[in-house]
Symmetry: C2
Subunit: 212 residues, 2 copies
Amino acid sequence: VTDAAAAEPGPVRRRADAERNIAAILDAAISCLSERPQATMADIARAAGVGRVTLYGHFPSREALVTAALDRAVAEVVATSDAVAAGMPPDAPADDVLRQFIRSSWDVLDRHRRLFTVAQRLLPPDHLRARHGPALTDVDTLIARGRAEGRFRTDLSVAWLATVVYGLFHAAAEAVNAGELDQTDAPAVLEATLLPLLATPTRRAPSSSEGP
Amino acid sequence: VTDAAAAEPGPVRRRADAERNIAAILDAAISCLSERPQATMADIARAAGVGRVTLYGHFPSREALVTAALDRAVAEVVATSDAVAAGMPPDAPADDVLRQFIRSSWDVLDRHRRLFTVAQRLLPPDHLRARHGPALTDVDTLIARGRAEGRFRTDLSVAWLATVVYGLFHAAAEAVNAGELDQTDAPAVLEATLLPLLATPTRRAPSSSEGP
C-alpha cells in the first residue's frame, strides 16, 4: 500500500490497489479523527501508510475525506440494523424492532462520536443530515410500520419523528463526549426517551387497575 | 458612532460610546449573519456604521463576535421566559409553564436560527452548549418543578431531559431552515413532542372512561 506501484500493473490490479488504499485511508481517518479531531491530512496519510499524492488523489480535501468516512459509518449503521431486522420474527412489533435498532445503531455511533463532531464543524447541517439519508430511511420505515400497527402516533409527521430520533441519537453522543452521560447507559436512556415520545397518545399503558 | 471620537471625551462619554458601538455591532452581526451566513467582519462593520478598528477593538475575531451575538440571543430567551413566568399564577402547573416557555423561546430562537447555524460551525459543541447555560438553567428549574409536582418523570436525569429540550428546539430550527417544518407550526410540534416525553410514565391521561 504505497505510491510506488509495481511496473505496469493491469487495470484489475490497479483497481484492487486503489480499493485497498481507500479502505486503509478511511480506517485511518476514522481512528485518527476519533482520537484527535485536529488530525491533519498528513497525519492520516501516515497512519494509512500511503503517500500524500495517493491520499489527495482519492480525497482532494479534508471535507471530501470526512464526508466519505461519515458515509462509511452510516453504511455500517444500515448494515447492522438490516442484520438485526433479519434476525427478528417478521411480525415483531415495531417498538421491539426500535429497541434493537437503538442498541445496534448506538454501538456504531458510539465508535464514531468524534467523527460526527468533526463533520458537524466541516459540513452545513443540511449536508450532514443528507449524508445520514440511508439510516434515516430505515428510521422512516420503522416509524411507518409502527403507525400501521397502531403503536406509534400519527399526529406528527414521519419526517419530524425521524428528525427527533436523529437529533436525540446525536444529543446522546454529545452528552457522552461532554462526560454527562455514560456511554453504556446511552441505549437505555434513548429507549426510555424515544418510546413514550413515539407511542400513540391515546393508547393506555397495559395495567390491570386504575390505582397507583 | 464612528472611530473619530470628539477631542478628549471624558470616561463616562467614552464608555457610553463604546456601549452604543457594541450594541450596534451585535445588532448588525445578528441581522447580517441571519441573512447571509458568509457575511464578513467588514460587512458587519459597514452595517453597524463603525470602522474596522472599532469592530476589532471590541471583537478581535469572528468567533468572539458570534459568541457575543449568541450570548445576547440567549439573554433574550431568558428575559422573555422570565417575563412569561412573571405573568403566570405562581401555582401554575409546570406543563402549562412549559407550554408558554416553548412559545416564547421559539419566537426568539426563530429570529436567530441562522445565527445558531453559523455558531455551530465556529464553536465546538460543548462550548456552544455552555453559552446556552442561562436558558438551560431555566429549563432545569422548570423540569425540577414538574418533578416536584409529580407531573414530570424522575427515571431520567434533569440534565438529560434539559439536553433533550435543547436538542429538539435546535432540531426544529434546522427543520425550518431545511424547509421541512413551517416556522409557525414549530411551537405546537415542539409541545406535542416534549410533553409526552417529559410526562411521568405511570400518570394516566385524564379521561372519564376506559373506552377508546
